[in-house]
Symmetry: C2
DNA sequence: ACATTTGCCGACATCCATGTCGGTTAAAGT
DNA sequence: ACTTTAACCGACATGGATGTCGGCAAATGT
């Protein structure tokens, strides 16, 4: 666990940051229900009851961390995709940005994408909202390209295809976590071969 | 909950079947940790302690249900894919078979694919084994098609691409569960447009 | 008919998690 | 300096879940 040999007191926001970091790490690795506030507190180097000085409940803590990390994802990817250039380059850069995020913040990726703990109604709602905004953003990004293969952007089926792409890329990111020796560029290339070229087209 | 106006006793296997059915339903909808043995027992129309007459622990119960449903998946898909014919038809039939399974046994799909409850080491191991066998089966199925777009079947990257396909199709299946008015054939067609044709190829 | 098996359950022991309260004391404010 | 704020924590109350034990009684066998 985190050590605090200096027994001086922290300021509120500093402790809060430690707590959210610990919560991110533990929620992402073991899931919501399997993680206790006591564990998070220990990881953050504080007594369990300190948690309640910063968050009213375990659920609100999870929700806060999710919102925070989703903002980080949006910011990370948004800053990296190239808005101009040919469609192929735009798509490649988006895929690369997502894999970059998965690489630099693996815990955040797990927390945001692994479908888990949907038993709680409020958590489910927030997750759904995050997913929908993601889907719409990507749909807007790929609109014209999908029309080119006969999937009309307005139609519901377009949403399904976007969902396939997003979930699929995340599946590849999960695989990457289990096989870290693979290079990011190989991964991007493989994904492009599949999603852009298509399995039906020989070199 | 399940009603049993006749208060006659069941035979062992019959009760066991009720229990596994209830466990499948609840584990799939609320997740492992959020489901108690008491709920499962109630759903199966028996007292909580009856569970221990059939399964030594909650964990073993989950493991049993997972193995059982995975066997059902393998059998369902295996019975439906056409082994012969052009590659495009083979792939289409496989996708259609998977969506068919998702449609006819939604709870099983959720239990097997939703990445959840990986905190327990034994559960994690079993999940991993199931996923790997799935991946290898699909990789064998698509070997030659992937070579055609420059992804060599032996290379690790091929595994990542297969993982992308599988996870992506499951993501589409999840979307379908939320949008059930879409027809299965549209879904199959959309997936084929993306995975077989590729976004880079106009009509 | 009677004995044996076995499906079924109530009561108990144990553990662990969440959330509350009030006190203590380091640090900030003036 | 000395007052006030607020970071920190120990102890408690409560609730819920897992797993055990022993007994009752319906099916079943002979």
């Amino acid at each position: 666990m985190a050590e605090d040999a200096p027994k001086s007191r922290m300021r509120g926001p500093a402790r809060k940051a430690l707590i959210t970091a610990a919560a991110l790490k533990l929620f992402a690795s073991k899931g919501y229900h399997a993680t206790s506030l006591a564990e998070i507190a220990a990881e953050a180097g504080a007594a369990r009851t300190v948690m309640y000085d910063h968050f009213p409940s375990k659920r609100v803590l999870l929700l806060s961390v999710m919102q925070e990390q989703n903002a980080a994802l949006v910011e990370y990817v948004g800053a990296r995709i190239t808005a101009s250039g040919p469609p192929e380059d735009r798509m490649r850069s988006t895929i690369d940005a997502y894999f970059g995020f998965a690489q630099s913040k693996p815990a955040a990726r797990r927390l945001l994408f692994d479908r888990t703990d949907e038993d709680d109604p409020e958590i489910r709602t927030v997750r759904q909202g995050i997913r929908e905004s993601r889907t719409h953003a990507v749909a807007a990004l790929l609109g014209t390209d999908m029309r080119a293969v006969g999937v009309l952007p307005g139609e519901p089926i377009a949403e399904a295809v976007v969902e396939l792409i997003i979930t699929g890329l995340d599946g590849a990111a999960q695989w990457w976590e289990r096989n870290p020796e693979t290079s990011r560029s190989s991964l991007v290339e493989g994904a492009m071969r599949l999603l852009w070229t298509g399995l039906g087209h020989a070199r």
